[in-house]
């Protein structure tokens, strides 16, 4: 809290009264009912909630994949409500790293090529892409398997590649949507340890969305989502 007080204008991400409604035929469904959240650099936050409470919608909005129906979203103190699709793509590419429950690696590409992708869209040249991707794969202990296709890797290994991919663009914020959801407890904990290491030793800001209280407990801040509202735990 002290940090927050000293650096009021340096929040990484600030959500102010974010609402999201969906039109489902004649019925209007309000998924987010005024969410407020401030994410400071270096934080590791867990968002917990039951399924269908709006966690994923919140993650999509924080990841600039979706836009709120109303409210303000500030990224590095800049209002993002009037950004074009192209500008949003740039933010996703340069500032956000996604880690999904189902890994979402491209099956036709090798681990190395998957990790190269965000850099490709940034226009980094091939030599540099490969160098960075190798570094990132080394950081997640996947140096030996860089030329393997996702189908040749275990779930835990795939998630490591996905994390390397999220890291390759050196994003300000890593958004992880149920990163351990598809893994067994032990492997899930390995992945969680990797996140903890990245947060503590490398200073990465991480938001983990989970329904697992055990995962949530390991983060230094936990928020709970219920009925489209966010509560500090």
């Amino acid at each position: 809290m002290t940090k927050n007080f000293l650096n009021v204008s340096h929040a990484m991400l600030r959500l102010s009264d974010i609402r999201k409604t969906y039109q489902l035929g004649p019925v209007e469904i309000e998924v987010l009912k005024g969410v407020n959240l401030t994410v400071e650099p270096g934080e590791m936050i867990s968002v917990v909630g039951t399924s269908g409470c709006g966690k994923s919608t919140l993650m999509n909005i924080m990841g600039f994949l979706d836009t709120p129906s109303s409210g303000y979203l500030y990224f590095e103190d800049k209002d993002t409500s009037h950004l074009t699709d192209r500008q949003l793509s740039c933010i996703r590419n340069q500032k956000i790293g996604f880690v999904f429950q189902q890994f979402n690696l491209l099956s036709q590409l090798t681990a190395l090529e998957n990790v190269c992708l965000p850099l490709l869209y940034r226009g980094v040249n091939e030599q540099q892409r490969i160098r960075i991707a190798r570094d990132m794969l080394a950081r997640v202990d996947m140096s030996d398997l860089i030329n393997h296709k996702p189908t040749e890797l275990s779930g835990g290994q795939q998630q490591r590649v996905a994390i390397a991919r999220a890291l390759s663009g050196s994003p300000s914020l890593i958004l992880a949507d149920e990163p351990t959801g598809a893994l067994d407890t032990k492997v899930g904990q390995d992945i969680m340890n990797l996140f903890l290491d990245l947060n503590r030793n490398r200073g990465n800001t991480i938001i983990v969305i989970t329904h697992d209280p055990n995962i949530a407990r390991q983060c230094n801040r936990a928020v709970r989502m219920r009925d489209g509202m966010l509560y500090e735990n």
Binding site: N60, G63, L65, D66, D85, R86, S89, C90, R92, N93, Q94, F98, N104, L106, Q108, L109, L117, P118, L120, Y121, R122, G123, N125, E126, R165, G169
Partner: protein
């Protein structure tokens, strides 16, 4: 750099779905292949026809009488070169039809009454014996064409020079044979199908004093238009009220070229229909590809791909597909036209126009038929795309 990466990505994704790629390729190959075959064969035929016309030379013209008195007199036609400085030689002729009898067999064939000059003007070559000479006045000598020679051969006559045949109830002695020549509008077709006899003999048989048509050859460097007016003037002086109608080889060739161009264009349009069908096939394959790869599009968008990156990737795929299909189609088209030319004994030639057309059209088809699917892909909502399975 980004372009190269997009190109490689496109190649890779085409390679990953080989069956789909192959099917789309077949469509475009058939499309481009048929256009190229048609245009190429069209060009070959055009060249072939022109070659037949040009073989006789472009310094040739023919004329017939026109007006109330249409007959041309033989003597006038023969002395014409002496009065027209731009005309080197003339070959007047008349044609008739009759029954040729040989060893009890009868055949209906044409006969041409000709002069000695007929041989050089029509570029005839002898297969045996000699040609009709200007000394054969009123003689019953004949030179036979290839078709008659073949018929005689079937009857067991191989050494036909000196043989006697009956034509229109007169006994003719065969003095020689001429090889086949290509037919065109300047050269009478009777050469191959019938017999050649002295023009004087022909006039006596058919009891006429007039000749039908005159083929004239210009002097080297002679002017065509000058020759035409000289001929007209000449006939006005020698025969009152007689006008002539002149047709030149150049005119004919130009007409021919114009017709051929129209024909090739028409065929090209017909061929384009199959190209459109192929193109729609590519579009269909690309649309299927987009809907099958929604998830991939969603992932790429989440990783920061802009709409134009996605659009570029799919457009690249369709352009690569069409371009590759186009190149294979051009090769197949040229191969097919080579086979056609080979079997028709025409000279094969690679039409640069056809190759350029094929390559350009396939590229344009790739952009045209790929644009809509690529646009669809680029416009996908990233979240919906990510949710797709």
């Amino acid at each position: 750099m980004k372009l190269k990466a997009i190109f490689i990505e496109a190649l890779r994704s085409l390679w990953c779905s080989k069956q789909r790629t192959l099917l789309a390729l077949v469509g475009i190959i058939i499309g481009i292949g048929s256009v190229i075959t048609i245009v190429s064969v069209g060009t070959i035929v055009q060249e072939e026809v022109l070659k037949q016309y040009k073989e006789m030379g472009t310094d040739i013209l023919t004329f017939t009488g026109r007006g109330p008195k249409i007959g041309l007199r033989l003597a006038d036609s023969l002395s014409l070169p002496g009065h027209c400085p731009d005309v080197k030689t003339t070959a007047p002729y008349i044609s008739q039809h009759g029954t040729l009898k040989f060893q009890g067999k009868r055949m209906e064939i044409p006969a041409l009454g000709i002069t000695e000059s007929f041989k050089d003007i029509n570029k005839l070559t002898l297969t045996a014996g000699r040609f009709i000479s200007d000394f054969d006045v009123f003689m019953y000598y004949c030179v036979i064409g290839e078709e008659v020679r073949r018929k005689l051969q079937k009857l067991g006559v191989t050494d036909f020079v000196g043989a006697k045949v009956v034509y229109k109830d007169r006994i003719f002695t065969i003095v020689g044979g001429v090889a086949d020549v290509s037919e065109n509008k300047m050269r009478p077709g009777e050469i191959n199908r019938g017999i050649l006899i002295p023009v004087t003999t022909a006039m006596r048989i058919s009891n006429t004093h007039e000749i039908e048509k005159v083929i004239a050859k210009l002097t080297p460097g002679g002017d065509e238009q000058a020759a035409i007016s000289q001929i007209n003037l000449y006939y006005k002086t020698v025969a009152k009220d007689l006008a002539v109608q002149v047709q030149t080889a150049k005119e004919l060739i130009q007409q021919m070229q114009k017709q051929m161009r129209m024909f090739t264009l028409l065929l090209g349009v017909i061929g384009s229909i199959s190209l459109i069908v192929g193109g729609v096939g590519v579009m269909n394959v690309m649309l299927v590809s987009v809907s099958e790869r929604k998830k991939e599009i969603g992932i790429r968008r989440a990783l920061g791909a802009q709409q134009r990156d996605i659009q570029g990737q799919f457009l690249a795929e369709s352009v690569i597909l069409c371009f590759a299909g186009g190149i294979i189609g051009v090769m197949i088209g040229l191969g097919a036209s080579y086979i056609v030319a080979r079997f028709s004994h025409w000279g094969f030639l690679v039409s640069n126009l056809a190759v350029l057309l094929g390559v350009t059209v396939s590229f344009i088809a790739g952009v045209f038929f790929g644009y809509y699917p690529a646009r669809q892909a680029a416009r996908l909502n990233p979240i919906e795309a990510l949710r797709a399975e």
